[in-house]
């Protein structure tokens, strides 16, 4: 079946394994960075940006959902907060989106901690539904508050191309590299987590909370930390997205379907793995965009039918995620 590399056991073997992972990451980074040399079609570049963005956000989701085992279907909330934070700061105070990203991230992390307090007492489906409901409340508030522009949303003023304002009208390329950078950051964070104490604690909490507790793991603190990191990174993605599309409204950043689109790539690719979300996004997002574009124009609904069938097929073909094709099921096995 798969490549049979003995899983690293000693520290020395581990260091080599880690270096190889980093090298692989570097190779992929360079390969994607070179893609725009061959791909110049505007639509495809757009798909590339979205794919990289969703991969990054899914990677962030994966920290809480895949490693720590807390499935959130309300991450659109943090994405939206990042988007609105960056937009409001830029439009009202001309604050650069770079700072907008960081403040959106910080705000989201704080909110995640505040929400975690009551929510992490909930188990299983009750927790999932709480995340959905909280995000919906956020959406409803955004739709009805003057502050967020209600249903009209927020339009970014048109200006010259600038790295400070992250507005580029003449070429999509900067966005490609920004999205790639974001993915690289989230990938690196995941890479660090895999070998860190938090990573071990999170996986223990995911697999068996009682046993984890008996080994000294503070379940609550672990979940909170995972939630904060995940929310922070997701919000940065949202802020980037706002700069990218230059116009946001509640439906375009906080709708439920986004929460799903953040989770699905990780499930498809391999939940709780290093490469899962990126792999999953690489398949899912182009699929989404292409079916919508090529088959959906007429409003006939056939694009949805096709998309739905493909999703079902992909979900059932390899329920443990695509990553399980590539690795011998040892430490990289999907959780």
């Amino acid at each position: 079946m798969a490549v049979v590399t003995p899983a690293p056991v000693t520290n020395a073997a581990h260091v080599t394994h880690r270096r190889r992972q980093l090298a692989a990451g570097g190779v992929v980074l360079v390969a994607v960075a070179l893609l725009p040399l061959f791909v110049t079609d505007i639509f495809l570049l757009n798909v590339l940006v979205l794919t990289l963005l969703y991969a990054a956000v899914s990677q962030s989701w994966n920290i809480l959902g895949g490693y720590c085992g807390q499935i959130s279907l309300g991450h659109a909330l943090y994405f939206g907060i990042g988007a609105y934070c960056a937009s409001l700061l830029y439009v009202n105070f001309e604050i650069t989106p770079w700072l907008g990203m960081l403040s959106g991230g910080a705000l989201s992390a704080l909110l995640a901690l505040a929400l975690g307090y009551p929510c992490f007492r909930l188990k299983g489906h009750y927790f999932v539904i709480a995340t959905i409901v909280i995000a919906e409340i956020g959406l409803l508030l955004a739709l009805n508050l003057e502050l967020t522009g209600a249903a009209l949303g927020i339009q970014w003023p048109i200006g010259d191309d600038s790295w400070l304002t992250l507005q580029f009208a003449r070429s999509k390329l900067p966005y490609v590299y920004l999205a790639l950078a974001l993915l690289a950051v989230t990938w690196l964070v995941t890479w660090v987590i895999e070998e860190s104490r938090w990573g071990y604690w999170w996986r223990a909490v995911k697999d068996n909370p009682e046993a984890a507790q008996s080994l000294g793991v503070d379940i609550f603190r672990s979940k909170m930390a995972a939630a904060a990191v995940s929310a922070f990174l997701t919000a940065i993605g949202g802020a980037f997205y706002a700069a990218f599309v230059a116009y946001i409204d509640p439906d375009s950043v906080m709708a439920f379907r986004f929460s799903l689109l953040f989770a699905l790539p990780a499930v498809l690719g391999g939940i709780g793995t290093l490469w899962g979300p990126a792999l999953g996004a690489a398949i899912l997002i182009p699929l989404t965009e292409v079916t919508r574009s090529y088959a959906g124009g007429s409003g006939s609904g056939l694009d949805l039918v096709l998309y739905g069938v493909l999703i079902i097929v992909v979900a059932l073909l390899r329920p443990d995620g695509i990553v399980s094709f590539l690795h011998r099921p040892t430490r990289n096995r999907a959780g």
Partner: protein, 290 residues
């Protein structure tokens, strides 16, 4: 006062319908711990089925309920046999795989509805119940909604009998308690699951048929109802039929009351906050056993 009673009455009737929509979901959850992401679209399918049959045959929607229910039963069992059964084979994170697979189903169903019926809003314009209202002391209860509420109560009564008196009901309960052990006593797990899905779909089918008599039908109609159904199920406690009835009624009432106080667009905030308030205090919902 009149207006207040009117709101309460409408909320109560809607709540009974929510309960009916939710109970199928709760049953399936309770039976096999599966998330049916396409539940709202099952409702949508039942509504379109009613609409379609009405268009074809001009039979009053009231009389179409049994036919739609039967169709939905078959549909539900087929979905299990064709999709869910395979989704359950995932060794890990089965919940997410099911969400994924049923999400695909939901998209597929919405696309199909759009293809066959166009995205336009449809409605059943001529029915016996259609424009009649029942007047109790100044409170007006539209007959279609009244029928839906009544139907819901009847169905819950029937469900109670089914679960507690029949062999099938006991098999459902047994499979829910211990999936592995039931094979030892000769119960075919797959068959029970298929029938369970059929039953769950049939229940939401009844709701859809009743709803079609007074609600606009369009491909995305299922979404909001699905979310409300999830809230009802979680509020009542996963796997609890009685919980679904109680929670549904509460949700209907709270939603109606919220619309009095807040702008109508925000009426859902009331039920979402209610859900959060309850589970923070009772992490398993009102009557949850799982």
């Amino acid at each position: 006062m009149q207006a207040f009673l009117q709101v309460l009455a409408s909320g109560l009737l809607m709540g009974l319908l929510y309960a009916l929509i939710a109970v199928g979901l709760s049953l399936i959850f309770g039976l096999m711990d599966v998330v049916n992401f396409a539940h709202g679209d099952f409702l949508m399918a039942a509504m379109y089925a009613t609409f379609g049959l009405w268009l074809l045959t001009s039979i009053d929607p009231l009389l179409l309920v049994p036919a739609v229910t039967a169709l939905m039963f078959v549909f539900g069992a087929t979905v299990y046999a064709g999709i869910v059964r395979f989704a359950m084979r995932a060794k890990g994170n089965t919940g997410m795989v099911q969400i994924f697979a049923t999400f695909g189903l939901a998209t597929l169903m919405q696309g199909a509805a759009q293809f066959f019926f166009t995205p336009d809003y449809r409605s059943i314009t001529e029915s016996w119940m259609g424009d009649k209202t029942f007047d109790i002391g100044g409170v007006f209860l539209p007959i279609p909604q009244l029928f839906a509420g009544f139907l819901s109560l009847v169905v819950f009564g029937g469900l109670y009998l089914l679960m507690s008196r029949t062999d099938f009901g006991k098999a459902l309960e047994a499979t829910r308690e211990d999936q592995g052990a039931v094979a030892l006593v000769g119960i075919d797990r797959n068959r029970v699951f298929a029938l369970g899905w059929g039953l769950g779909a049939a229940l939401v089918g009844i709701a859809g048929a009743a709803l079609a008599a007074f609600y606009y039908i369009h491909p995305q109609v299922g979404g909001p109802f699905a979310l409300t159904a999830y809230v009802v199920v979680a509020l009542g406690g996963f796997g609890s039929v009685f919980g679904a009835l109680v929670a549904g009624t509460i949700v209907g009432l709270v939603e109606a009351l919220t619309a009095l106080v807040l702008p109508p667009a925000l009426k859902s905030i009331g039920i979402y906050s209610l859900y959060l308030a309850i589970v923070f205090v009772r992490p398993r919902g009102l009557f949850g056993k799982l």
